[in-house]
Symmetry: C2
Subunit: 125 residues, 2 copies
């Protein structure tokens, strides 16, 4: 371990310098996962997204959308309406990621009881 990634080495998230680590850091994010899951259903506008992703601030939503767009996971379309309409949609690449992320979201929803139980036991001891 601790081996920097040079051309020819294979990718390894356990190496800090590996570009896959950067990507993991970016997708291992609560807001990114929720946004991706919402856009997987259908394209949504900025403020609509803000209302549906309960608890996200405008700043963080804006930042996260920018990063997801830069990574090619979502697309941003501007329509010259009044007022201006900005629609975000998922890309084919984003859809492949969403399949993996969906498993995490459903894990949270199906195993929540067991986790809460474990927390109660830990806190009692």
């Amino acid at each position: 371990m601790n081996i920097p990634v040079n051309p020819g080495d294979r990718y390894d998230v356990y190496c800090a310098a590996c570009p896959t680590r950067m990507v993991l850091d970016r997708i291992a994010d609560k807001w990114a996962m929720l946004i991706l899951g919402r856009l997987a259903r259908q394209p949504v506008r900025f403020n609509q997204l803000r209302r549906e992703i309960d608890g996200v601030s405008q700043k963080v939503l804006s930042q996260t959308l920018k990063r997801l767009e830069r990574d090619g996971l979502i697309a941003r379309a501007v329509f010259a309406t009044v007022p201006v309409t900005v629609e975000y949609s998922i890309t084919p690449l984003g859809e492949t990621l969403n399949d993996a992320v969906a498993a995490l979201r459903t894990w949270a929803e199906t195993h929540i009881e067991t986790v809460l139980e474990a927390q109660r036991r830990y806190d009692k001891a």
Copy 2:
């Protein structure tokens, strides 16, 4: 949306007050994912883990391990050797989560080229 979770409501990560949101926030973490993946192979001691999870600080490793233990995802065993040995291992519940997380880690490793390409295109424009 924005409806607080009351008894009888079904769980929904898109609601900020839902306990599943707390769990998602906890598992949607770079370090937690890397730790879980390493422990899925075999039990590992603290300092060994610190060396293998390249880039993690002792403080964050310690904090993350505590949270994972509290959530029932990993187990902590202390042996009265000299110096003391502390071994961390994955639990059956942790293994079910690791299956989902593994998909994310491999996504990062398989789609990294496409993501880097998208970033270059975005930065050029």
